[in-house]
Amino acid sequence: MLTIQDLQAWYGESHILHGINFNVRAGEVVTLLGRNGAGKTTTLKSIMGVINKRTGSIRFDNKEIIRATSDKIARLGIAFCPEERGIFSSLDVRENLMLPPVVRPGGLPLDQIFTLFPNLKERLTSQGTKLSGGEQQMLAIARILRTGARFLMLDEPTEGLAPVIIQQIGHTIARLKSQGFTILLVEQNFRFASTVADRYYIVEHGKVIDGFANSELSANMDKLHTYLGV
């Protein structure tokens, strides 16, 4: 579904990604692991087209998107849930939820979204940023499920959240996977990632330096500890 070759990216003058290579197959949950500043978020932003200066190749559904603008990339069916969640304060919850335009058929209908996130239904008229951190995260995920995008990129969805909410997000990801969504996850929380991921890639200094499947996890534990410094 997604194939990335020799992806390099820059923020202004600083060279962040030095040749990222990996792929994601349809229906998989793939997690990028790595230390802070390794380039995980930049990788997601480069796929989304939010970072202007990027080279190499990003192929999505066999289309090259390395030069596409982010609105065109979104229209191909890629949706992004940023680390800072990006809830708009001048919009209420309903407006936040309805903001991303439907890019293709097959998005979740509203009643299914409210089954996944019952809290949101009660807070529809609240200002978006008045929600708790957990509710904001749910809103940020919920609004990209409506659009029909089948490839979701979630940047640290569990960051700063209580265990019970992390569990709820874990259930949601499992449910989305069973419905055929493909998910590219960035996580610091390795224990959480191990409950949902099919495969892992390790990012370090702007490169993918290793990758393995969830079934090979126990065999790779030592290496992983070295990579992540935990």
Binding site: V50, D71, I73, A74, G86, F88, M98, P100, T147
Partner: protein
């Protein structure tokens, strides 16, 4: 009392122009982060387009109300595409200087051909005359300007605060990168927003033509007061700029009645007070 009502009406009319102009400035500032100093020149162009339509094309006032904002709006969108868009991300000062330069050029060109005196534009037949309200005589055209401006202002408010398109606009004001990553063509939206703000200015110009005549410097005189209105109301609030626009027009009118000597300065005195007490303006968010 007659004189008081008459001044109140003048105040409401000026307030209509303040509201239409400051509304456009607020919308443009929110989306482009540019303080549009060309606004007065574009208001003047609206009046001139109406004048040309009538005198060269025989096209009447009612059509001018639609055509002039569209023509000036398109002119504005060309300015945005060719010049303003390159200022994204730079300091406010660059936008201010560029639009101020554009204003000087546009006004200079019109002055070169039309001098500084006013060209007449007559009130459309349907709106001539007046009605006696018992307590005062109301010229119909003036009543029309106040009501029509109010309707246009409220319609613009509704568009921005209550519709899906408005939600895109508000969201893009906060975080254009993310809105674009949802699949919305934000650069095109910015261009259309500039066109909308400029179109409102041109509409005010057409409304003003039968009252104030058509002059190359009509916008330059007005825009200074409008900027004071915007400072008082606070950049970035739609309803705030509408209410402040009308309110300051009325305050000016009242000052003309009670203490005429201060009528030209009262807005600026208020601006100073507001800046001292609440620098973001009465309804404004921090920039």
């Amino acid at each position: 009392m007659q004189a008081l009502y008459a001044q109140l009406l003048v105040g409401l009319i000026n307030g209509s122009f303040y509201a239409l102009l400051s509304l456009g400035l607020a919308v443009i500032f929110g989306m482009l982060n540019i303080i549009n100093f060309a606004h007065g020149a574009l208001y003047m162009m609206g009046a001139f387009v109406a004048y040309f339509l009538l005198n060269l094309g025989g096209i009447n006032y009612w059509w001018a109300l639609i055509i002039a904002p569209v023509i000036v709006g398109i002119f504005g969108m060309i300015l945005e595409r060719t010049m303003l868009q390159w200022l994204a991300g730079l300091d406010h000062l660059y936008g201010l200087l560029l639009t101020f330069g554009i204003a000087l050029i546009v006004q200079g060109v019109f002055q070169n051909y039309f001098g500084s005196s006013g060209l007449p534009y007559s009130i459309p037949d349907q709106l001539k005359g007046g009605v006696n309200l018992g307590f005062m005589f109301l010229p119909i055209y003036r009543g029309w300007v106040v009501i029509f401006s109010l309707v246009v202002c409220l319609a613009t408010w509704f568009l921005i605060e209550k519709t899906q398109l408005g939600a895109y606009l508000r969201a893009a004001t906060e975080n254009p990168t993310l809105v674009r990553a949802f699949g919305i063509n934000v650069p095109r939206m910015i261009t259309l927003t500039y066109g909308l703000g400029v179109g409102l200015a041109a509409l005010a110009g057409v409304l003003s033509a039968p009252i104030n005549q058509v002059r190359p410097l009509m916008g330059a005189d007005l825009i200074i007061v409008v900027f004071a209105v915007v400072v008082i109301g606070g950049m970035g609030s739609i309803m705030g700029s509408i209410i402040t626009g009308f309110a300051l027009g009325v305050i000016e009118g009242l000052t003309k009645f009670f203490y005429p000597e201060a009528s030209n300065t009262v807005v600026f005195v208020l601006m100073v007070v507001v800046l001292l007490v609440k620098p973001t303006g009465l309804t404004g968010r921090a920039a």
